[in-house]
Amino acid sequence: MTTMRERFYRLAAQALEDDPSVAMVFAEIGVAEMPRHPRLFNVGIREQLMIGVAAGLALEGMRPVVHSYTPFLVERPYEQVKLDLGHQDLGAVLVSTGASYDSSSSGRTHQAPEDVAALAALPGWTIEVPGHADELERAFRRALAHDGRVYIRLSVEANAAPVEGDGLTVLRRGSDGAPLVVAVGPALDETLAAAADLDATVAYLSTVRPFDRAGLAAALRGTDVVLVEPYLAGTSAAEVARALLDRPHRLLALGVEIPELRRYGTPAEHRAAQGLDAAGIRASLTAFGTRQLRAA
């Protein structure tokens, strides 16, 4: 199966060929995966410059696509993202690779599960968390078609199949009182496995900002909501609260609980340690009061 990252490089190279307004700004990472092109600018290992250059290109009417490893794209040049893009009111497409604990054996320096929360704190960002390479392709094409600020978060974790449709998409209906479990991006397959024998409504979301508040409010028939986000736990909790201002509700927000895990190993080991594998999610769901579909 094509990884999201492989798909991105193919799409990026094609976009440079097809659209003269597209320019790419890289900081070494990914350059070797791309054919040379006069509008693919590699600034070397200079991430502050990477964002500033993207802003300058946007001033000139270009559609800059900026790509690097998550901590070096979002965290290191965070003030550039805030000011050079946001405050200047300029657009860019930021595409990260290396989600949460993808780079488990590299340790904390190469992990940024705070990425979505950090960008969501800034105004005007569309945040895409594709769960499949096909969803990445859809998000990338959509991002190139306008001039806003878009963050697309690639991950080595992916679901077996893409989900069609935009916004919050209900995939499985439980009883009316059952919790609404919203799986984000690559967390879907583990969530579906976790809830297989539970009375739960399972929905999917890959565009997390703007958050589909109306879709959430419409999908919820009981009082209980569970978020399963493959990044910092609670990142979208305030969105759920705003979506449900008109009714009492309970929220369980699952996600990366321990950013400083201080373990190496595999992504699967990290997923389990964060409680984001099927067993961990199931345990959290049952502790939250989710009932089994039939007596054992």
């Binding site: 320019a23 200079r46 502050q48 500033g52 300058g56 290109l57 550039q80 405050h87 200047q88």
Partner: protein, 213 residues
């Protein structure tokens, strides 16, 4: 609406007083006054971009924009007020002629590099203290190495960097592949010559030295 006619350099003082009222003049803004005037009066051509990276103390900038008819003179009166577009750091979305919003140091040069990549002639003004910020050097290094000829930086050097620039500011740019010129930051003819000393083969820096405060 006030009808704007081409103002002269001597009109700037009145415009600045109109901005600052009874407040004491901000020396930092005035350090840029002659460089800004020379750029807008003699150097910038239609289609060029000017980015004020050192956005702190922008009264000289607003005054020059007003003198050149880019900014309505009437706007000067509300400087810093809630209903005024003119803040103590400029906002490009509020003020005609302001091409970047600045205030936090070290952002203008990298943005200027990006704008110059597509062939636009771009001038960016930074301060010698501002050069403390490492982000500038990312831009200086890369622009020099790729020979980004449409880019001109002007460093207004009022010796405000606490740790100074031993060996000089120009040399640091030259090492990275820039051409450079030094000028008295109060001498309009010398400044114009320094700006015109760009060869067109490399990015160019003008170090405009003004009196230490």
């Amino acid at each position: 609406m006030c009808h704007v006619t081409a103002a002269t350099y001597d009109d700037l003082q009145g415009l600045i007083v109109r901005l600052t009222g009874d407040e004491k003049h901000d020396w930092s803004s005035l350090s840029t006054l002659d460089v800004l005037w020379t750029l807008y009066d003699r150097v910038l051509e239609p289609g060029d971009r000017f980015l004020l990276s050192k956005g702190h103390g922008p009264t000289a900038f607003y005054a020059v924009l007003a003198a050149k008819g880019i900014l309505p003179v009437d706007e000067l009166d509300g400087f810093g007020g809630f209903d005024s577009p003119l803040g103590h750091h400029p906002d490009r979305t509020l003020v005609p002629g302001v091409e970047i919003s600045s205030g936090s140091l070290g952002h203008g040069l990298p943005i200027a590099v990006g704008a110059a990549l597509m062939g636009r002639r771009v001038y960016v003004l930074v301060g010698d203290g501002e050069l403390d910020e490492g982000s500038n050097w990312e831009a200086v290094q890369w622009a020099g190495r790729i020979g980004l000829a449409p880019l001109t930086a002007v460093v207004v050097d009022n010796h405000s960097s606490t740790y100074h620039w031993p060996g000089g500011i120009e040399g640091r740019f030259e090492l990275e592949g820039w051409t450079s010129a030094h000028a008295d930051g109060r001498d309009h003819d010398a400044l114009e010559r320094a700006f015109r000393a760009r060869t067109g083969d490399a990015p160019h820096v003008v170090v405009a030295e003004v009196e230490r405060r």
